[in-house]
C-alpha cells in the first residue's frame, strides 16, 4: 500500500466518486519521500475502497484529520516534451 499526501484549500476539492486531477506527493519512506506526481485518481472516505492511502494538508500546511483511500488511475504528463 502506498501512502500519499495532497494539499487543498478546500475539502470540496476531494469529491468522492469523481475522476480527479491532483498533484500528490509520496509519503513512502526513502529518498524519494515528498516528491510529487500529477495524477488522475479517485478518492473515497471509505478506507477499504481503494488500494492506497491519502492524507490531506490545508493551504498553510495544517494536517487534516480526514483520511481517504485513493486509486491512482494514471500519471498525467503536463511537462512539455521539449523539457523531458
Amino acid at each position: 500500500m502506498n501512502q500519499w499526501e495532497v494539499f487543498v484549500m478546500d475539502m470540496a476539492e476531494l469529491a468522492e466518486g469523481k475522476d480527479l486531477a491532483l498533484s500528490i506527493r509520496t509519503l513512502n519512506t526513502g529518498r524519494h519521500k515528498y516528491t510529487y506526481k500529477h495524477v488522475r485518481c479517485m478518492v473515497s472516505a471509505d478506507l477499504d475502497k481503494h488500494p492506497d492511502r491519502l492524507q490531506v494538508r490545508m493551504g498553510r500546511g495544517q494536517l487534516s484529520a480526514a483520511r481517504f483511500s485513493i486509486q491512482v488511475i494514471e500519471e498525467i504528463r503536463r511537462l512539455p516534451a521539449k523539457y523531458a
Binding site: 526513502g30 515528498y34 516528491t35 510529487y36 500546511g61 511537462l79
Partner: protein, 485 residues
C-alpha cells in the same frame, strides 16, 4: 585597502566558526526529514552556535551547515573581522567595502574547480540524490534552495544576477520557486524570457562562501560577482557550467544546472518565511527543470530555517537593507546620522536618524525608501532626530510615542508594491503583491519655535550642567551604588 582575510569558501567558514565557538560539530546521525530543520530552528531561536551536521540519514558522505549567518558574531567572522565587533562596526566595514572599486571575478579551469568533483547528467540526474531537507513539518516540499544563489544572465545586456530565491523540490528533476516580480530575476523573466517564450538558463549554487551568500541576498544594484569581490577584497573564482554558458562560484559545494520554463508551472509552497509565519499561499510558481548536478566530495548542503526571529532571513536582510538605504539617502545628500532595522521587526521597519534641517524631510526619506528597489521589503519608516540613538529601541520607542503626531506625523501611501509574504495583507493584496506603507515622523516640526514650542527632553544627560553630571558620575559608587558597566 588593508588586506582582508575573510573565509573564501563554506568549508573555511565552518572551520573559522568552530574555532571561535560559533559552530558545533554534530557527529550523531540526523534525519533530513524535520530533525535537521528543528535543530537549525532551535539554534536560531536561542542564538546558539551554528550546527554542522556530519551524518545524515539516507545520505552517507553529505553534511549540513545550518543557520550560517544568524548572529552578528558569525557575520563578523564571515567578513574576516573580530567576532566581538559591534553592529555599528560591522556596518561601517560593509559600507567601506561596498563603496570601494568593483573587483571583477576570474574564471578558472574546470579541472581546478572543486564543485566539479562529481557530475550527474542525463538519466543520472535526480535531486533525491542530494540530502534535500524537509525544513519545517507541513512545508509544501523539501527545499533545495534555502541558502544559495540562483545564477542567471540577461541574454542581451549580459548582466549577471545571483539572487537567493527559495527553491522547492517538486520531483527529481523539477524545482519551483518564489521569484517575486520586482526581484532582479523576476524582471529578467518578465522583460525578456516570458514574452519570447524562451527558456532561461539558470544555475543554483549551494554551499557558497558566506560573502557570496551575503551578496546573493543583498539588495545592492552592484552585480553580485563584483560585490563578492568588493566584500572579500579579492576576485571571486568562477567556473563555467557543464550545460550552459553561465559561470558559478568554483568553491560552491553543489551546483544544479538547468532551465527556467516559460510555459510550464508547478505548485510551490507553503513554506516557513522570515516574517515568522507561513503566509504566502501554495501557488503555481516559477518552475526550474534540472539538466545537470555537480558537487564536491563530501558536499555540505547549507540550510537557512526561516521562522520567528532570529535567523539570517531577518538578521542579514535587516543589515543589508538598512545599509543599502543608508547609501541611497547619503547619495541624495540627506543629512542622516544612520539607518537601522531591528532584526526582530523581520525587516519591516526602517529607523532613520536625521538632522531635521528642513520641512518634510521625514516624508522625503520615506518616499525615497519606498520608491527604491528596497521598497517592497518593508512597510514602515520611522524617522527620528540626530539626538536619538537609532540602535537603542528604548530611545526610538520613546520618541515615537511622544513626538509622532497621530494626525500630522503619520503618512500613509496606498497601492504601492508589497510582497505575498506580508502577514497583515489581505489575500487579494498578497496575490498581486500590492502593498501599503507608512511613515512615522518623530521629528519636531521645523516651524515650531525652538525655545517656546519644542518641549525640553528631561534626561540626566540633557538637563544637568556638565559639572554636576561629572560630580554625580564620579561619586556614584561613593553614594553606595554598585558600579555601572
Amino acid at each position: 585597502m588593508s588586506k582582508i582575510s575573510a573565509p573564501r569558501s563554506n568549508r573555511e567558514f565552518v572551520e573559522a566558526c568552530v574555532r571561535h565557538g560559533d559552530a558545533v560539530r554534530i557527529k550523531q546521525e540526523v534525519d533530513w526529514e524535520n530533525e535537521a530543520g528543528a535543530i537549525v530552528r532551535r539554534a536560531c531561536e536561542l542564538g546558539a552556535p551554528a550546527p554542522f551536521m556530519e551524518s545524515i540519514k539516507d545520505y552517507p558522505g553529505f553534511s549540513y551547515f545550518g543557520a550560517p549567518l544568524s548572529t552578528y558574531r558569525r557575520m563578523a567572522i564571515s567578513l574576516g573581522m573580530d567576532p566581538e565587533s559591534s553592529l555599528p562596526e560591522i556596518g561601517a566595514e560593509y559600507l567601506k567595502r561596498t563603496n570601494s572599486e568593483p573587483i571583477a571575478p576570474v574564471v578558472i579551469d574546470r579541472k581546478d574547480a572543486p564543485c566539479k568533483e562529481n557530475i550527474l547528467k542525463g538519466t543520472d540526474v535526480d535531486l533525491c540524490k542530494l540530502p534535500v531537507p524537509l525544513v519545517h513539518d507541513g512545508d509544501g516540499g523539501r527545499y533545495v534552495g534555502t541558502w544559495h544563489a540562483v545564477v542567471t544572465k540577461h541574454p542581451v545586456r549580459g548582466d549577471v544576477n545571483w539572487g537567493m530565491y527559495r527553491q522547492m523540490m517538486f520531483d527529481g528533476r523539477t524545482m519551483s520557486g518564489a521569484v517575486f516580480p520586482f526581484s532582479d530575476l523576476g524582471k529578467q523573466l518578465s522583460e525578456y524570457y516570458l514574452p519570447r517564450g524562451e527558456a532561461a538558463p539558470f544555475a543554483t549554487a549551494i554551499g557558497l562562501s558566506p560573502l557570496a551568500a551575503m551578496a546573493a541576498c543583498a539588495p545592492s544594484p552592484i552585480p553580485e560577482p563584483e560585490l563578492v569581490g568588493m566584500l572579500s577584497g579579492e576576485p571571486a573564482r568562477l567556473v563555467k557550467c557543464e550545460t550552459n554558458d553561465l559561470e558559478v562560484p568554483a568553491d560552491a559545494e553543489i551546483i544544479i544546472e538547468g532551465v527556467i520554463c516559460p510555459d510550464y508551472k508547478v505548485e510551490e509552497g507553503p513554506f516557513g518565511e522570515y516574517t515568522g509565519y507561513r503566509t504566502s499561499p501554495r501557488d503555481f510558481r516559477v518552475t526550474f527543470r534540472v539538466d545537470c548536478i555537480t558537487y564536491r566530495n563530501n558536499a555540505t548542503m547549507t540550510i537557512s530555517n526561516m521562522g520567528v526571529p532570529q535567523d539570517e532571513g531577518q538578521l542579514l536582510r535587516s543589515f543589508s537593507l538598512g545599509l543599502e538605504l543608508e547609501k541611497l539617502l547619503r547619495s541624495q545628500g540627506i543629512p542622516i546620522t544612520g539607518v537601522y532595522m531591528h532584526p526582530r521587526s523581520t525587516h519591516h521597519m526602517m529607523i532613520v536618524g536625521v538632522k531635521p534641517t528642513y520641512s518634510g524631510i521625514a516624508q522625503q526619506i520615506g518616499q525615497l525608501a519606498f520608491g527604491s528597489k528596497l521598497g517592497p521589503w518593508f512597510h514602515m519608516v520611522m524617522v527620528v532626530d540626530d539626538q536619538t540613538d537609532i540602535y537603542n529601541w528604548d530611545e526610538v520607542y520613546h520618541a515615537f510615542c511622544t513626538r509622532c503626531h497621530p494626525e500630522n506625523g503619520i503618512h500613509i501611501y496606498r497601492n504601492t508594491t508589497g510582497t505575498p509574504l506580508y502577514p497583515f495583507a489581505t489575500p487579494h493584496e498578497r496575490k498581486y503583491s500590492i502593498g501599503s506603507k507608512v511613515v512615522f515622523d518623530c521629528l519636531w516640526p521645523v516651524d515650531w519655535d525652538k525655545i517656546n514650542d519644542v518641549p525640553t527632553l528631561v534626561s540626566f544627560k540633557n538637563v544637568y550642567p556638565k559639572d554636576i553630571q561629572e560630580r554625580v558620575l564620579s561619586n556614584w559608587v561613593a553614594y553606595g551604588y554598585p558600579p555601572v558597566k
